[in-house]
Symmetry: C4
Subunit: 191 residues, 4 copies
């Protein structure tokens, strides 16, 4: 079974998630720039989530380049990933509207953590089909970036109850780690 | 006429349905975890509907692998299926917001039942094009899973007026039956 | 220039239009079936618009099968068509929420009329590229179904101010005329 | 890395942006034509933004025809472009609901300006991959239309605080400049 329709469906869902998030930025009633002020935290949350979804799309794109067959397990692992990503507009809106209060910031981190775990599960499911000597296996390697991200999410979730800005910093650091397209896979593709 | 654009359009509609459902989970105004409590039934409904739509996408994907030509009848049978699936966000929201009251739970089952009937009609329309000796015919066989699902939906709809949790159980059992990707078609593809 | 991306973009827009229409059916607050009663006209409007958008997708699909090249004029004629179709969720919601009052029913007809005119313009633009002896030209022929539809829309728009149900009947008749997939093109394809 | 999935994802996002904009036109409660009057500025804003998004889709489509490889930089430059375009429904709604007040008209121009800059950055990133003698380089040339647009946006943003209709005129002129599909690229493709 080919990866074509899996990519098409995932692209569709990711494109919709990234776009409907903007609907959480409700058009304000005032006509002056001051009417936009209360929207600033919603906007900042939107930017962060947009970058995260861009990273997921980017890595998804890169990973499927070295995946050749898709099993039922991979299909469901992918849907599981999309499930957690589909909750991002909700937690983005909750975090933004409450001006980065502890509980929403923690829940934002939980959804990011679950999405990261789901991505890891999907990679494992794909690896089982591709085999340990596949380009995918070489590309993933020991998955240091993935493991570091999981640790940073946990730190961020816990920090949100003490120093909410530390949580934000943790989430931003994870984004920066991944902003660089996955060089492991580009290296393997280049071989 | 090829199946390509039928798949693309169906993928698009399914991707949108699965994603806009999350818009029914309105961002709460409170900033504490307790503000999420009233959303729990909406969230549970969302999870169930997400799984159902994942199953439909999965089976649709599998089925079209053994379909080679598409007639006008198949196109309209597919649109008929998408019509009932498009009502899932509405019934999911109604069921969740009313904390699994009898009428919304029954209507949820009715929409699932109609979608299942629409899927059966689409299979029949495709069979008429492919013929009784086609891989599709062998893959469908006597369609025991399909018939069992129809029966369970009817049981669930009736149960919702007496024991609402029995209805929920019936819907969950149907989902579990189908969570395993359609082995009939995988078996035929493997031949 | 090929038709691939034109189809993909049109499929995307049509899939979204057909799906977000359902968002106009607001989840009611009551938990009984009686809470659904006020939604009945919205639901009926939704069914009619779903069928119309299905017809447009279907005919778009059929037409592009006999189109080989796409000019800038065709691209913009297609966007013009999508513009009018994008207004269907709005007029569907207005017509449904006002229980088929004259003005919304007339505006519904105006949007359908403009979409039909836009479709005709797109066919003309494609014909200019394909030439008068092309399969597309043979498929369109004298476009009797198209012209009859335009006349029926005008009748419906005028009727909506006198006998609103006559307008509804006119719109339903147009839908029935087109529900049969475009045999002209299927005949040419069969040659 | 091919341009296929980049096109598919961009098409998806553009199709969603162009379609959800219509959700800002809230269905009015009255049943007469007079109920539509307050919506007129929202409708006019919608038409302008629809044309702009159509232009972006069209030029994106044309440009990727002469792009052969996609680097990580191009992927992110494309996401950056989609980010600014995703804000168009918000500024369209704000501008329309406030009947073209100065601040919303200026912000509308700022978002258009940022999108135009993002498009220029994407072209530069693609040029770095394709090289200075590529068809893309010949197609872009000195990018006079791009530079003129940037200047007109700046004029429009400043004008919005003095003569709001001059700002509107500037935005409409930019749209008219681009409505003609990018002949530079068509010319190179024709060679």
């Amino acid at each position: 079974m080919s990866t074509g329709r899996l990519e098409a469906f995932s692209d569709g869902v990711l494109a919709i998630i990234i776009t409907i998030m903007v609907l959480e930025m409700k058009v304000p009633h005032g006509a002056g720039f001051s009417a936009l002020e209360p929207l600033l935290p919603v906007f900042l949350s939107y930017v962060l989530s947009f970058v995260y979804l861009g990273i997921y799309w980017n890595n998804h794109h890169h990973t499927l380049h070295v995946v050749h067959r898709v099993s039922g397990g991979v299909l469901w692992a992918n849907l599981h990933l999309l499930f957690w990503l589909s909750l991002i507009p909700f937690v983005t809106g909750w975090m933004g509207e409450n001006h980065f209060a502890p509980a929403p910031v923690a829940l934002y981190g939980v959804v990011l953590l679950m999405a990261a775990i789901a991505y890891t599960i999907m990679l494992r499911a794909a690896l089982r089909v591709e085999g340990p000597d596949s380009p995918l296996a070489r590309a993933i390697g020991r998955d240091r970036k993935g493991n570091l991200s999981l640790a940073l999410y946990v730190v961020g979730i816990m920090a949100s109850f003490f120093q909410v800005w530390a949580a934000g910093a943790a989430y931003i650091v994870v984004a920066l780690i991944w902003l660089i397209p996955d060089q492991r896979i580009e290296r393997v593709l280049g071989e």
